[in-house]
C-alpha cells in the first residue's frame, strides 16, 4: 500500500495530522521552493519529536556557487537526525552528498524533469534511491515507470501543483515598478476565469495550478512508495478530511470518495493523470 506523506504548512498541522499520515516533507529555510513549511537548520531538533514518521527534508532550489558551502553544512547536520531522505533539484547536492558518508537517502525531485524510467535509473546508478515523479505525466506513465524503474517513487495525488519557479521577483517587481503596496504572503493571478496562486518570497517566485488535483482514483491504481498530499492554500479542516479519505479508500468506495473531494472544492481536476501534454514536432514537408 502506498504510504501517505504531506507537505505541512506549520507544526500545528503536523500535530493535527500525525496520527493520519506516514510522514512529512519539510524544507530548509532559504534552500527550498514549493515547500510549505521551511525551518532553520538551527531548529532541526524539533524533528526529534517525530521519529516515528518518515521525514524528508527539501533543499530543492536551484543552487548557485554561494550555496555550495551551505549545502554541505546542511547535509552533514541532517546526518544527526533520523530522516528518511533529502529532496534535491540541483545536481550539486548529489555531488556533495557523494563526497560524504551519510546514512539517509537522496530523492531526485527535479519537478518537471522526472518523466521517464530510464532517466530515473540513470540517477539510481549514482545511488539516488528515490524519485519524486513529475506532475505532468499520466497515470499510465506512472504505472510504467513503477514497473521499469529501480528507484522508490513518490507522486503527488492531491493539491495545487507547482508550475513555475523563477529567481526573478515577479510580484515584487510589479509592485515596485508601479509604486504599489502589498504584503500578501500569497497573491493570485487571474486569467479567463481561472485563478492561480503565486508566491513571491525571498528565494523565488512560485506559481501554482488553478485547480486542485484530485488523484484519489489513481491512488488505488498505482503502486508507488509514497503518495504526497499537498495542503498548500487549502483549509486545514478540509485537508484533514481529504487525508482521511485517502487513508480509507478502496476499490469499492473510490468513486464515492472521488466525488466527495470534488464536492468539497469548486476547482478540482485530474491534472495530467488522464491527459497527455501535447508533444508533436512540426512536420517539414520540404
Amino acid at each position: 500500500m502506498n504510504k501517505i506523506i504531506t507537505l505541512p504548512s506549520d507544526f500545528n498541522e503536523i500535530e493535527k495530522t500525525k496520527d493520519l499520515v506516514d510522514g512529512y516533507i519539510i524544507g530548509i529555510e532559504n534552500m527550498c521552493v514549493n515547500t510549505n513549511l521551511c525551518i532553520s537548520i538551527d531548529d532541526l531538533d524539533i524533528l526529534k519529536k517525530y521519529t516515528s514518521k518518515d521525514i524528508f527534508i527539501s533543499i530543492n532550489k536551484n543552487m548557485h556557487n554561494s550555496d555550495l558551502d551551505k549545502i554541505k553544512e546542511i547535509l552533514i547536520e541532517l546526518n544527526n537526525y533520523n530522516i528518511k531522505g533529502v529532496l534535491y533539484y540541483d545536481v550539486s547536492v548529489l555531488s556533495i552528498y557523494k563526497s560524504l558518508n551519510l546514512n539517509y537517502d537522496l530523492v531526485w525531485a527535479a519537478e518537471h524533469l522526472t518523466t521517464n524510467y530510464n532517466t530515473i535509473n540513470y540517477w539510481n546508478d549514482f545511488g539516488v534511491n528515490y524519485t519524486y515523479l513529475s506532475s505532468d505525466i499520466t497515470e499510465e506513465e506512472i504505472i510504467t515507470i513503477s514497473k521499469k524503474s529501480k528507484s522508490k517513487l513518490m507522486v503527488t495525488l492531491f493539491g495545487y501543483l507547482p508550475m513555475f519557479v523563477s529567481k526573478r521577483h515577479i510580484v515584487k517587481n510589479y509592485l515596485e515598478y508601479f509604486k504599489l503596496e502589498d504584503n500578501s504572503k500569497i497573491n493570485y493571478m487571474k486569467k479567463e476565469g481561472k485563478t492561480y496562486p503565486i508566491v513571491d518570497n525571498d528565494i523565488a517566485t512560485q506559481v501554482y495550478s488553478d485547480s486542485i488535483l484530485n488523484g484519489i482514483k489513481s491512488y488505488i491504481n498505482i503502486n508507488v512508495d509514497y503518495v504526497i498530499l499537498n495542503g498548500f492554500d487549502i483549509d486545514l479542516d478540509k485537508f484533514i478530511e481529504v487525508i482521511k479519505l485517502f487513508k480509507s479508500v478502496n476499490k469499492n468506495n473510490v468513486l464515492e470518495y472521488y466525488n466527495k473531494i470534488n464536492n468539497m472544492f469548486v476547482n478540482t481536476s485530474l491534472g495530467f493523470l488522464n491527459t497527455k501534454t501535447i508533444y508533436k514536432v512540426k512536420k517539414n514537408d520540404k
Binding site: 548557485h64 505532468d136 508550475m163 523563477s166 517587481n173 510589479y174 504572503k185 493571478m189 520540404k286
Partner: protein
Amino acid sequence: MINKPELLAPAGDLERLKIALKYGADAVYIGGPALSLRANAINFTMDEIKEATTYAHSMNKKVYVTVNIVLHNDELDGLTNYLKELEKNRVDAIIVSDPVVIKEALTNTNLDVHLSTQASTLNIETAKFWKEQGVTRIVLGRECTKEEIKDIIDNVDIEIETFIHGAMCAGYSGRCVMSNFLTNRDANRGGCSQICRWDFDLFDENQKEIKGDKPFTFCSKDLSLLKYIPEMIDMGITSFKIEGRMRSLYYVATIVSIYRKVIDEYCNNKDTYTYNKEYERCLTNCANRDSIPQFFNGIYDSTCSYYNGREEVSNQDFLGIILDYDENTNMAIVEQRNYFKKGDIVEIFGPNHDIITYKINNIYDEDGNIIDVVRHPRQIVKFNICEKLEKDDMIRVKKVDKTINM
C-alpha cells in the same frame, strides 16, 4: 594571445543557416526531426542536416543539433538510432538536457555532447559532475552572474557557452510548465506557448485587485551583452550563443554580423578597441523589446521587467535582400521584404563590407519599367548603386531611435 570565442547562431532552416554562417557565425545550432525544444519551428530533415553539415564543414564551421527535450517513456524508443543517424550525418555535437540522452550518445556514438541551458547549470559542483560524465561543453543557466561564470571557468576544465543576445525565459529553464497547464502544450518538449508574455489580473491575499498602469505580466526584457563582449572574451568563455531558432533571416544576419565585428575588432587589437555605438543602434533597431544585460550584472529587479503589454510589433525595417549585382551596369537585383519607395534613405549591409547609406533613386521592375514604390511581397526590382554589392546583402530602413540600456 586572445582565445577568440566561437560565435554560435540559431538557424530555423537551411536558408537561415547559410545566412548565419555567411554573416560570420562560427557554428549554428538547429533542430532535427525529433526530440528538439522548438517543436513549432520547421525543423531540419535528416537530408537537410546532411546538407547543413556539408555546407558548414566546407567553410570550416560547425553544426550542433538540439536533442534537448525532457523525455517521456514513449520517446525512449528510437533514441539510440536517432543519435546514430545524427552521427552519420556528421553533426559536430548534440545539445542535450535529459541525462539519458547523454548516456545513450556517449555509449553508442562518438558525438560530442553539450549540456543544454535547460539543465540550469549554475555552479561549480554541477559543472564538475557533468564533465566527469563526459559532457564536453556546458551551456550555463541564464541566471549566472559574471562572477559565477568566471568561478566556473576557473575551477572546471570544460568548455563554457553563455547566451549573449535574445529573448529571456521568465523562469528557470525546465521549471516553467505554465504552458502545459494553460494550453496543454508541453514546455519541456518544445511546445512552450510563452505564457510569460501574457497579461494577468493580480490580486492580494484578500482577493482585492492590485492594479498598476499596465497589466501584470511575467514578461522580461531581452538580453543584450554587446557592451560586455570584451570582458566576456577575457573571462575565457568558449562560445557566445545567440538565442532564436524561430527568428527571421534579417534578424539572424543583423545580430550575427554585429557580434562578429565586435569579437573580431577586440581580438584583433585589444589595445585600440573602442565600443561602437553604431553597432548598438543596429541591434536596437532590429529588436522588438528593450534589451539589457540582466543576470550577467546580477540584476533581476523591476528594471528587467517589460510592462508594455503585447505592444511589441513585428519588425518592418527589413526592406529587401540582394539577389545579384552586375558590376558592368552597377545594377542591383533585389527581392522585396517590406514596402519601400524612391527617395527612401536606406542602409545596405553584408558580411564583406561596411554599412552603405544610400538614397534610393530610380527603381525598375523586372521588365525595366520605372516604378516609384515597391509594395508587393517578394517583388523583384532593380536599382543602380555604384558601391559593389553581393548576393545576400540586406537592405534596411535607416533610422536612429531606441537605445539599449546598458
